[in-house]
Symmetry: C2
Subunit: 457 residues, 2 copies
Amino acid sequence: MFLTRLRDALTEADVVDDPQIIESYRADHAPGVPAGMPRAVVFPRSAEQVAAVLRAAVAERVPVVPRGAGSGLAGGANAVDGCVVVVMDRMDEIVRIDPLDGVAVVQPGVRNTALREAAAEHGLWYAPDPASRDFCSIGGNVATNAGGLCCVKYGVTRDSVLALQVVLADGSITRLGRRSIKGVAGYDLTGLFVGSEGTLGIITEVTVRLRPLPPPAITVVASMPGLTAAATAVQSCLTTMTPSLLELLDRRTIRAVEEWKGLGLDTSAAALLLAQTDLPGEAGEAEARRLEQTFTEHGALEVYRSETAEEAELLLGARRFAFPALERLGRVYLEDIAIPRGRLADLLAAVERIADRTGAIVGTFGHAGDGNMHPTIVAPWDAPEAGTAATAAFHAIMDAALDLGGTITGEHGVGLLKRHGLAGELDDTARRLHLQIKQTLDPYGLLNPGKALPSMP
Amino acid sequence: MFLTRLRDALTEADVVDDPQIIESYRADHAPGVPAGMPRAVVFPRSAEQVAAVLRAAVAERVPVVPRGAGSGLAGGANAVDGCVVVVMDRMDEIVRIDPLDGVAVVQPGVRNTALREAAAEHGLWYAPDPASRDFCSIGGNVATNAGGLCCVKYGVTRDSVLALQVVLADGSITRLGRRSIKGVAGYDLTGLFVGSEGTLGIITEVTVRLRPLPPPAITVVASMPGLTAAATAVQSCLTTMTPSLLELLDRRTIRAVEEWKGLGLDTSAAALLLAQTDLPGEAGEAEARRLEQTFTEHGALEVYRSETAEEAELLLGARRFAFPALERLGRVYLEDIAIPRGRLADLLAAVERIADRTGAIVGTFGHAGDGNMHPTIVAPWDAPEAGTAATAAFHAIMDAALDLGGTITGEHGVGLLKRHGLAGELDDTARRLHLQIKQTLDPYGLLNPGKALPSMP
């Protein structure tokens, strides 16, 4: 009956109940969280088809799990038993790029890099750049409010989203937000949907702002003698400059990258700092010099800056290889905490203490300029018992971030992975508010059940 | 009974029912919208006192109208009969400025300029700069999501707010958001409250991000031969640069300023463009040259740039005097529409047509770089019948903005003034969603009733 309704609303080929095909749509990239067995996977091609799926789901009380590219890291797209997984892959059209308005209108299945490239043809730039940009989708980016490397200067996905078309739980279709850059008519419902992880509705179109393409960046790399020196250097930069990128890798991460790629990194350093400036011309040169100088003043063992755009990109290699290099060493538990910017040294020290105490192997890297770090716990393949230490460390790091006034997730989302942590972050009233809003928009609780939200206070 | 409860919760001096004092708290600065008669005005000094006021109000079903500095332009702070006006003036402490975290924590009654000055002592900058910055409050800025002149590069109030403490309708106190720059745990309820004009709760503390103080700006001024030339020049700038300010004044506004202040403006020009760049050093010089060049290529009659920081500020005088200069000419109806950036020429032409058709006198100025313009309709004091034409023009301009894909309010808010317009901007489903959220958070409808929200579809 449910499948018949789906097949009536979509084409035959866009409704799948073959268990073998379904298998590959059960989970995203989050490790160690459960995934149920969907009864069907559908691939709608329009907002109207999404609405038909939701009407069918409500009629038969079938849970609905929206899915972008499946590259999520928190289990937000993991299936629940008996659900329909709604894959937005086939809505992948760049509807319009309007250089004069400085906006693009895209369907949710468009890949981040595809939008980036299409904008570049007009001399424009879509700023948000999650590390997964080559394979993640704009819809998924919006649903998780994805971050990236350029956030320190250009903000997160939220800061580039002007308007959304969404299908609500009851199958009604609405437009939120506007095409103008500014606007304060009504509540910021666009913002409410950004980062709501598919629990309030399904995003079927996204209007984003584009910026002028920035000038080529200059990269400055410094190897630092200690984590505290690295953290204070970061803070020193941020009180007087706004670099376009400011990343940190700790020793374990440096060594993992070096062992794998042999880039010639200084494996004796406690930390590697990578910064970029994209100011134009002489201002970029001047800012690069100030970055070098700041790192030197904080005791850098070595400072190096790129001479060409190609070299600038090459030097980022160490950062881009950080996570895959750690992944090679075992099963990984990727953290995503963020702390107030001034507490970076405290966080790095806390992570070291937690590693010592639990015996977990932790490599830390991330967006130092935003205080959004990714301590990555590695449970070696040949040490099956390491999972216990890893889990203990994972939770202890979240607690440490909260103790420092931070958050359990800076950019990956809560999904399934961090629901417990959320209880520590939101007070009772805020939790109640979340659940009331969820209940108002999704009275049967069918949209991505069990994800993203706190449990009842 | 109600007054007794208030006097029990607050000090005697912070509860006022003297009709003469109440009179000055009945309305904000919006012209032509009704204001009711409050039964009391209270001046709470803590979140707990605000909570006590709300508990008393709920117990006796008394409407509550929150009020910042009263500088609003849409009637959002206007009293309704029998309400209690909650004036946030006496919660005016800068709680903390933390240069390392790059944040400030302030009470809502702090004046925008006071925060700006306190941040500057640390070499930091609070960016949002509404024209009313010397007398408006941060709480009011947050409640209306206020804009300003620097938005074109640095965004609106929303973009600087990290966290809020709010008191909900039932008197519970909660914290929303975080101190870290990034964070995606839970729904963006901070964003939901920003711009909600006191209809969802009362803001009792605001955490904002601070940026490094930008270098001194260079101002470039150009007098343009036509509105279309001015609009296309603006667009041409924005596709390759991000100036820190980009404003436009039309001929009527230029003449009003010149007659009043005698600044030596070219009163034969159809429009005056004012731009600033705050890039450092040679990059600023280069961007100023490109602004000059762009204006010249679009037919500027004259282009001039500042040589010193003092002169840069002086040249902005024409813009700062725009509204008061028009106010001298009669009763004014200040519009606040915003359109997609590429439609500026169309909007300016539409405003001219509307002025011709209705016979209204309209001077237009505003934030051209954001497409957020303030066509200001003047009904001369000696022409009492001009009010009818003015009202017709006011509504026609909102319609024109919507026809161009824009919004009825870019930065002032809906308040009482634009509730009718809102019906044209939101679709039925979006309207329903607004009312559902309002109902969920304020089940008795006591918080700023009759403001900001659409009527039922």
